[in-house]
Structure formats: structure tokens, C-alpha cells
Amino acid sequence: MSLFLFWIFAVLTVVFGAAVVLNRNPVASALSLVVSFLGLSALFMSLDAFFVGIIQVLVYAGAVMVLFLFIIMLLDIRAEERRRVNWLAAAGGTGVAVILLVQICVVIGHFQSARRTFPPLERSTTDDVWNIGRLLFNNYNLPFQIIGVLVLVATIGVVLLSRRQPR
């Protein structure tokens, strides 16, 4: 992956990620999030993680974002009216976020391996999905089944939560 493509997709991801927070209209935020996820999926593929890149598009940009847009439409949420901004709280929140970013950057700066480039890969005889699937069903069989139970519980929970309460 060339440097040029990396920076294009990195800037795309970060700019549209910032647009999620900065837009006042929730629909615009959700659509910015879709573009940000597509850029992130391209970054995954630049790291030779094709399966993860594909499920990023399928699960996030497909399923999760449709769910978000559907809820926004269902609740008929309009753009936030300009209420008086609490400048002290806003400055505090921004300050904490900036301090966090500086801390992470200092940690990465002290991390020796961060300056090294990625080692070359051998040509694999099997594809990406096969490799992940073998690991998933051999080494991670129990966590995989627990995740299945978790999704089932979440589904039942959602049905219970969204049922109209009898008065």
C-alpha cells in the first residue's frame, strides 16, 4: 500500500469522524459516520486484513448505520436548536480530550517499534477467511459460542425493551 493511498484514507476517516461530532443534524452525523467507516475499512484492507475490512462494511456501514438512520427517522429527531452552550463545560471536555491525545502520542513516541515499517508477508496458500475461521473454530470455540448466547440475549432484551407497556 503506497503512502499516498494511506494518507488519503487516513485523512478521509479522521475528517468524517470529526464531522460526526461537529454536525448539529443527527442525519448528517450518521452519514458522516458511514463514510468514516468506509475509510477505516480501506485502512484495514491496506493492512492485509481483508476479512475484517469486509465485515466492517457489512456490519457497520450496512447493518448498524441503517439501524441508526431508522431510529433517527422513527423518533423524528430534528437538528438541535441552538441552546445556550455551557462554555466552561465545553472547554473542559475539549481540554480533557486534548490531554488524552497528547498522552497517547507521547506513549507512541516512546514506543521503539512504532518507527519500524511492516515486515513483508509470505504468500499464503490459504485465504484470509480460511485462516481466521480455522482459528475461530479451533482455539476460540468457547468464546465464539458465548458470543452467540450474548447476541441471543441482546435480541430478546431488545424485544422486551421495545414492547409497549400495558397500562
Partner: protein, 106 residues
């Protein structure tokens, strides 16, 4: 050439944007979207480390990618439950603004 640090910096910036969104925005839906952004920033650094740690067989470390798979599954379940809670809250209070929900405020 692109280094491991470049991917980690992008991941750090994305995480900070998500964190700032949770701190600054008052709309619950946007807060949930910012949470998704933070989860995805963590996924990006996991995949970058997976590609960086090439094993003896010349393939990336697939353990991290399996972990990303689990994170994506849990995040999808979390969004479903979070949005159902949001709908239930909207039914009870007709608002999605965190400033209007202060019953548990100390």
C-alpha cells in the same frame, strides 16, 4: 513507507474524536455514534499490531483479527440494546437530550 506509528496515530486521533463526542454532545444518538467511533479506533490499532507481528510462517498474527471479530459482534449487540433503550426513553420522556434526563443526577 508507512510505519506502525502512523496507524497508531490515526487510531489515537479517532479515539480522541469519539471521546470528545461523548464529552461534548448532548444528543444521545450522537453519543452512541461516538462510542462506535472509539470501538473502531481500538480495532484499527489491533489490526495494525496483527499485521506488524508476522509469525514464523510469514502470516500476520490472526489472534488479533479474531479479537476484532468479537469486538464488532459485541458492538453490534450493544448498539441494538442502546437504541432500544433510547426508544423506550423517548416514549417515556419525549426527549433524547441528556440535559433533560436528570432523575439520577446527584
Amino acid at each position: 513507507m508507512v510505519t506502525l506509528g502512523d496507524y497508531l496515530i490515526v487510531s489515537a486521533i479517532l479515539f480522541t474524536i469519539g471521546f470528545a463526542g461523548v464529552m461534548l454532545r448532548r444528543n444521545l444518538i450522537v453519543i452512541l455514534m461516538s462510542l462506535e467511533l472509539m470501538l473502531n479506533a481500538a480495532n484499527l490499532s489491533l489490526v495494525a499490531f496483527s499485521r506488524f507481528r508476522v509469525g514464523t510462517n510469514g502470516l500476520p498474527d490472526y489472534n488479533a483479527q479474531v479479537f476484532v471479530f468479537f469486538v464488532i459482534t459485541v458492538a453490534a449487540a450493544e448498539v441494538a440494546v442502546g437504541l432500544a433503550l433510547l426508544v423506550a426513553l423517548y416514549r417515556a420522556r419525549q426527549t433524547t437530550d441528556v440535559d433533560d434526563i436528570t432523575s439520577l443526577k446527584f
